[in-house]
C-alpha cells in the first residue's frame, strides 16, 4: 500500500507498539499481560510496518529471519525449564533471585519464569511474523 500518511504514522506507531509490547511482557507476571500477549503486540508493530512499507523493508529492518526468532525463543523457554536441574528441582520449577532484598523489602525479583516468558514472547513474535510475511509475499 502506497500511502504517505500511513508510512509516516507507522514510524511512530511501530516504535510505540514495540515498547508497549516489552511493557506488557514485563508486567505480565502478576498483572494481565505476559509473553504471549506481548509477542502479539510486538508482531503487530512489524505487521503494520510491512503493510506500510512492504515486506522486503520489514524483513530488512528485522535483520533476522522470523522463523529463527521463534526457534531461538523455543530454545530459551526450554533452557528456562531445564535450569531447574542445576538446583535439583523438577523440570520447569521456577528459580527466584531477589536482588537487593532486605528485611521486609522484596528487592528486585528475577526468575526463570521471566526467562520462560521471554522465550514465549519470541516464539509468538517469530511465528506470527513468519506467517504474515509469507502470506503478504504470496499476495
Amino acid at each position: 500500500m502506497n500511502s504517505i500518511i500511513l508510512r509516516a504514522g507507522t514510524r511512530y506507531l511501530s516504535a510505540l507498539l514495540l515498547v508497549f509490547s516489552l511493557y506488557m511482557l514485563l508486567r505480565g507476571h502478576n498483572e494481565p499481560g505476559g509473553g504471549f500477549i506481548g509477542g502479539l503486540i510486538g508482531a503487530i508493530g512489524f505487521v503494520l510496518f510491512a503493510i506500510a512499507s512492504g515486506v522486503a523493508d520489514a524483513r530488512r529492518s528485522l535483520r533476522v529471519q522470523p522463523q529463527n526468532i521463534a526457534m531461538v525463543g523455543l530454545g530459551i523457554a526450554l533452557i528456562a525449564g531445564i535450569a531447574a536441574a542445576l538446583f535439583g528441582d523438577d523440570l520447569f520449577t521456577g528459580q527466584w533471585l531477589f536482588l537487593g532484598a532486605a528485611l521486609g523489602e522484596k528487592g528486585l525479583p528475577l526468575s526463570t519464569v521471566l526467562v520462560f516468558d521471554i522465550g514465549v514472547y519470541l516464539v509468538v513474535f517469530g511465528s506470527i511474523l513468519t506467517l504474515v510475511f509469507a502470506m503478504e509475499e504470496e499476495i
Binding site: 530454545g75 525449564g81 536441574a85 523438577d90
Partner: protein, 511 residues
Amino acid sequence: MSWILAAPLVLPFLTAVLSFLWRHSPAGRRISVAGNVALLVAAGALLAAVLDEGVVAGQMGGWAAPFGITLVADYLGAAMAMITAITALATALYAMGDIDEHKAGLGFHALFNVLIGGVTGAFLTGDLFNLYVWFEVMLISSFGLLVLGASRAQIDGGIKYVTLNLISTILFLSGVGLLYGMTGTLNMADLARVVPALEDQGLVTTVAMLFMIAFGVKAAVFPLFFWLPASYHTPAYAVSAVFAGLLTKVGVYALIRVFTMIFTEDTGYTHTILLWVAGLTMITGVLGAAAQNDMRKILSFHIVSQIGYMVLGLALYTPLAVAGAVFYVVHHIIVKANLFLIAGIAERAAGSSDLARIGGLYKSAPLLGALFLVPAFSLAGFPPLSGFWAKYVLVAAALDVQGWLVAGVALLVGALTIYSMTKIWAEAFWKAHPDGVEPKLTRIGTAQRRWLLAPVIGLAALTMLIGLFPQPFIGFAETAAQQLLDPSDYIRTVLGADALPMPADLAEEAS
C-alpha cells in the same frame, strides 16, 4: 525421579531448535540423528527404571498431583516411549538419504523432532488436558511435515488431514471440559479413582463416547478412518513412515489408556461398541487395500485394518486380550514404519510406487526383496515373525471368551492381508519391469543407499528378534495389561501411598 521422565521430552525439542538453526548446512541433519540417539538412550534409561520399580511418576514444576502436570511411565508408557525413540532414530537415519536440501532448508528436521516430542509427551503424560496439548503439538508439526514442499497432492491430503483431526480435537476438548466439570480433576490417576464413584454413570458413559470418537478419529477406526488413506501417500517417505508407525498408535494408546483406567463402569456398552468397531475396521481396511494399486495406498489401508486388531484387544477386555493389544501396537509400529521405508527405496530404485509401472525388483535387488518379506509376512502373521505371535495372542483371547465371530474375522483378515502383500510382491518384485529398466539398488548413490538401507535392516532385525524370542515381550505386555486393568500401583505412585482406598470425604463429594 522426575528428570528421567523429563529427558525424553526435553531432548526432541532441544534437537528441533538446534537442527532448525543449522537447517541450511549438513550439520542440521547430523544434529537430528545425534539428538535421536540421545533420545534412545534416555528412553532406555526410563524403561530400565520402570522395569525396576513398576511405575515412575514425576511432578513438573514441583506442583503436587493432582494440581500440577504429572508425567507418569508405567510399563505401557515406557514401552511406547522406547518404541517411539527406535522409530525416530530409524527415520532420522533414513532422512539423511531421503530428505533433500530444499526440504531440510524448510525445516524438516525441526518439525520431525517436534513431532517426536509430541508423541513422546502423549505417551508419558498423566494428565488428560496435557494429553490434549500434546495432541495439538503433534497435529501442528505433522501438518507442517505433510505439506512440506507444497505439491498439489500434498496440500489436498493435508487439508483433509487437518480438518478431520481438528474435529477430533474439538470433541476431545469438549470431553475434557465436561469431565472436569463432573469431577474437578483431569489427572488420570485421580480420575481413575473418582470416576467410578460418580453417581450419574449415564453421563460418564456419554462423555466416554466423546472420547471414543475423538480418539477413534486419531486412531483411524471404522467409520472415521477416511482421512488416513487420503493423506498418507502424499508426503516424503520418511514422513509417511513416521506417521504410519506412530501417529495412529497415539490414538490407540489413548483409547487403551482411558478405556482401561477411567471409563470402566459400563463396559457392556462401551466395549461392545469397540468390538463392533474393531471388526468393521479390520474388514474395511483390508478390503480397501485390496482395491488399491499403489504401494503406499495399499500400506495406508493396511494401517487401518491393523488398528482393528489393537482395538479388538481392548474391546475383549480380558488381561490376555489387553496384553495382546499392547504387544500388537509395539510389533505393528516397527513393521509398518519399515514397510513404508522399503516402499521409499523401491520407488527410488524402480521409479514409481504405482504397481503397474514397476517390477523386476527381486531379480535386480534381491536384498530389498528379502528385506520386504520380513515385515510383509510379519504383517500378515506368518510364523515365526512378530506378527504371528501378536495375532496368536489376540485370537486366543477372543476364543477364550467364546468370541467365535471376531476370532474368525481376525483370521480372515490375516488371510486377506497375505493377498495384498503377495500382490505387492508379485507386481513390484516378481514381474519384469514394464519399461525394461533394471531397478538395481546401485541406481541410488552409495552414501545415500547406506543411509536408506541401514534403518530398514535394523527394523527388520528387530522384527525377527521379537518373532524368535517372543516370551520376554509377551511377558512384558502381560504386566502392562495387569497395570492397566488394576491401576492401583499407578494411582499410589502418582497421588501418594494413602490415595487408595479413596478418602471418605472425597467419595461423598463425588456422589
